[in-house]
């Protein structure tokens, strides 16, 4: 959590005795209620539990194909989505469960999609890598590295063209920066002043490749934005409040017509790239150092320390989230499978 934010929490919450009811004004962008903070905690816990359930069901053979888990990066999805409006577009890559859930897609239908069921968000056609929910302007879930960036540019262009103040947030990884589409889309967004927020989840590895083996210019990516004349920020991806704040700052300016922006969040995936990856290419110590800052530990601790939540409250939050995931798994299990004939549906409008 950023310095001024800690500060703010101190000032506003002050004596824990003020207790749960107290409203905490902790953001540069208006108040964050404890309800909101509890919601952020629930969000992160929900994602973690959802991903664990995915792993279990992959082992059972209920989920197949490529499955990329978001465990460790929950603070990014929860923090960014808290800063968006319903009209904003979100586009991401194949590691998309966390962001989809944080955007509010139906947990049952998300799990059903992974199970390849008719009730899935994409009717079982997309799978883990292709979660879509157009009603929530969640535009996928894309499996070609870097391929989602031009799409996001086009969505943001549609908002600019229509004159709305909706923005588009596009997620991508450190590995995707090495695709030509990254460079081309950065340039396009800058030249056309698109309301496009480039959000880099730098988890230090692209599959088995550490950033310093495959990228010139080092571990920090945000400086590259300067060469396109795009303002950038970097934030601790393990700090949900800091992510939320940084995203809000960027989004506010973009709605005011400020053109594209770039945010880099350093984060880490605790698990392998996909279920096929034992992640032998990295040191346990590296993993341990990140897990020590696990947002699912540090954030609730902060809430307790500052008297923003009580243990029973946190317990209740966890249980309801666990329950939601359990329900989703049952929903998916019980959902009907699509018939082979549906292969030919949804090709053309």
């Amino acid at each position: 959590m950023s310095a001024e934010l800690q500060q703010a929490v101190q000032e506003t919450v002050g004596d824990p005795a003020v207790g749960p009811a107290a409203e905490a004004r902790v953001s540069l962008n208006g108040p964050v209620s404890r309800q909101e903070m509890l919601a952020l905690y629930r969000q992160m816990h929900l994602i973690r539990r959802f991903e664990e359930a995915c792993a279990e069901n992959y082992a059972k053979g209920n989920i197949r194909g490529f499955l990329h888990l978001y465990i460790g990066q929950e603070a990014v999805a929860a923090g960014t989505m808290a800063a968006l409006k319903p009209g904003d577009y979100v586009v991401t890559h194949y590691r998309d469960h966390g962001q989809a859930l944080a955007r509010g897609v139906d947990t049952n239908r998300a799990m059903a999609e992974l199970f390849g069921r008719k009730t899935g968000l994409s009717k079982g056609k997309g799978g883990s890598m292709h979660l879509f929910d157009v009603a929530r302007r969640f535009m996928g879930g894309h499996a070609i590295v870097g391929g989602q960036l031009p799409l996001a540019a086009g969505l943001s262009l549609s908002c600019l063209y229509k004159g709305t103040d909706d923005i588009t947030l596009v997620f991508f990884g450190d590995g995707a920066v090495n695709q030509g589409t990254f460079h081309e889309t950065m340039n396009l967004a800058a030249v056309w002043k698109l309301p496009l927020l480039f959000f880099l989840e730098n988890n230090l590895y692209g599959m088995g490749s550490s950033v310093d083996n495959v990228r010139a210019g080092g571990m920090d990516f945000y400086p590259i934005a300067d060469s396109y004349g795009i303002d950038s920020a970097h934030v601790d991806g393990m700090d949900v409040m800091a992510v939320r704040e940084a995203t809000m700052n960027a989004v506010d300016r973009m709605r005011a017509g400020g053109g594209p922006r770039f945010i880099e969040a350093k984060t880490f995936r605790y698990v392998g790239h996909s279920m096929a990856d034992p992640a032998r290419y990295r040191e346990d110590s590296e993993l341990a150092s990140w897990m020590a800052r696990d947002p699912l530990k540090t954030f609730p601790k902060m809430l307790l320390d500052r008297g923003l939540a009580t243990e029973p409250e946190l317990q209740a939050v966890r249980e309801s989230a666990d329950q939601e995931v359990e329900t989703a798994v049952r929903f998916a299990e019980r959902s009907e499978k699509p018939s082979p004939e549906e292969l030919f549906d949804d090709i053309y409008a």
């Binding site: 997309g126 879930g141 391929g147 086009g154 908002c159 081309e184 409008a349």
Partner: protein, 325 residues
Amino acid sequence: MPTLTIREAIRTGLVEALDGDPNVFLMGEDIGAYGGAYAVTSGLLEKYGPERVRDTPISEASFIGAGVGAAAGGLRPIVELMSISFALVGFDQIVNMAANLRYMSGGQIKVPLVIRAPTGAGMQLAATHSQSFETWLAEVPGLRVAAPSTPHDALGMLRSSIKEDNPVIFAESAGLYGLRGETPDGYYEVPLGSARVRREGDDVTLISYGHGMPILEECAEVLGERGVSAEVIDLRSLSPMDFGALNESVHKTGRALTLDTARRTGGIMAEVASTLQEEASDWLDGPVVRIGAGDAPWPYNREMEQGSLPQLPDVLDALSKTYSL
């Protein structure tokens, strides 16, 4: 009936769409001040301004993808490529993104995108600038491919393409931009998916599209003088393909020849020929003859390039060899 060149017919369709629907806009390299590599969009920037006639950087992958995104966002973008050969640097965005987006989302997204691109050889532009990738794109589920060869069809099919809620590759035969022809006064459309019988005949079915059509027309003339009546079919829509019309014609004639000004191997005519020999086998008196350009990269030198392009004599020889016509 006004006579227009294909270039003018396409411009007419673009102007009509820009006037008729505020969600329609154009984007591409040098379509504005420069007027387009083949001058199709000349004058449009002045009339509609830079928001709707949008010059792009030389970043095909990204502005094609941006077209897909803008379409997914509710607009109706018309993207121009300077050459269909340049589609290759954006092939992933066409084949994986534009074509699959609706499917991957379980039908949640519509992609009303038109990608216009000049195609074909014959202008000594050498290996990388003379190709005809519409034949590959016609194989991709999720895409439509239009390839008109007359001003009438260019305008009529462009209208249908812009109305279409799926991505359409609009392949413009670069050598035919200047071709003149009549277009009806009143509004009309040419639906995607319908071939056109350009000339009726009983003895043999001659099939092509785009640059191949003038050759077939000429061929039919020559055959006519020999008392052979040829039916000439312009596929004009490569996807969907109007096999109904092809089968019907072959049913009547019992003989078929396909002509492709792209390389002979692979391509769309292999699909036409192999489908006909399956579906129309009972009526065919012989094999479906396939004529195409040489299986070589396109050379710069004129003699080699013209030698590679199929010509009237090649068609006539093949017909006499196979069907002794």
